[in-house]
Symmetry: C3
Subunit: 155 residues, 3 copies
């Protein structure tokens, strides 16, 4: 067994579309970033990579690499899973908590969890909270996501 | 087995009594919130709910629900544990770290850990740190708590 | 099995040498603190102590204790491991994520992971991310580190 953790933060960019958890969100401010800024998927990748001893998202999928400019972050998750599997691990489960005032996660939780669990091939759950007006998430400057992952040795 | 994580943040409210970790703290600033603002118990609930795939505290115990106005947050923990058990999981252990300048956790750690472990029916430990004057916790604007939980399939 | 979590934050101190992850970093701003301010090692200690139910770094190695003024934080890790072992636990693995603009972790990841894994006697991995200019880490005021640990009952 292995524990893993990942945190990611992106600032809102009102001019960008919002991709979060691999879903497109209409009428919500987007996120800045070299890729699509999907903090949920990035935190999941870092939780998986850390648990498997495979480095981190920034080094694996260089934030300056022109191949990943504007990339849909699901490609990072797919590649991460291939690396994790190649290193001899299977995913037991992954959880993510979004810390942000927007978007509201609850109305789309089932859709998010179904999509992410199918993508990862193991239970992925997603929750959300706010910070009572405090800090950069409280001021509505950006989104933070934290994920933990549990891996087992694959059979 | 399942990993879970929960974070919660509440701003100080000097006019409120302080409830934290299910205990009443005299001569300490309280916490704002729809309920009693007990960030420790809220983080524990979200760690347990996320691990079990049961959503999050905000959706389970609506922050606008008049039934929970001023609620003692232990009711959320008890209800969370019933849901977790009903979903077929047992709690292996829970840990919480408080990030705040006040109150000081160490003098009451034993009392907190005994009470929370009895409440949860598994080892619950609590630690604390500060942020060296940085951010909203460093400026003494509020309290953050982070919890991780480990669940197993119940027999 | 036991899960554990630890977070630590230290402000930069341009006049101090930088010790992070037990390594000395040339030409980088140092960290303030009663000890050497090694946020990576402190987060690891708190993850291990919380999992084992042994309190936290601040209470174990008092931040006002003159014996630890300027201490190299590896002594805290060694002492923590002795306590964890004495409590009947073995370390399964530990992961740390650094949240900071400086220093860059990736160029020294292999060195850090080799040293920390040897120190802990179990796999320790280290990753890093930034916060897109947001919050105290984004403004370059300090470093945050978060660690999770997994322990098992020792044979
Ligand atoms: Mg990112
Ligand atoms: Mg709360
Ligand atoms: Mg420290």
């Amino acid at each position: 067994l292995r524990t893993g953790v990942g945190i990611d933060v992106h600032a809102y960019d009102e001019t960008a579309p919002l991709w979060l958890g691999g879903l497109y969100w209409t009428d919500e401010p987007g996120l800045a970033g070299h890729s699509d800024g999907d903090a949920v998927l990035h935190a999941i990748c870092d939780a998986l990579l850390s648990a498997a001893g495979l480095g981190d998202l920034g080094s694996r999928f260089g934030t300056n690499d022109p191949r990943f400019a504007g990339a849909a972050s699901e490609v990072f998750v797919r590649e991460t899973l291939a690396l994790v599997s190649g290193a001899g691990f299977a995913v037991v489960n992954v959880v993510v908590q979004v810390v942000a005032v927007r978007p509201k996660i609850a109305p789309r939780r089932s859709e998010l969890e179904a999509r992410l669990s199918a993508l990862v091939g193991a239970p992925v759950t997603i929750g959300a909270t706010t910070t009572d007006g405090l800090g950069f998430t409280g001021r509505g400057e950006g989104i933070a996501a934290i994920a933990t992952a549990l891996l087992s040795a694959s059979a």
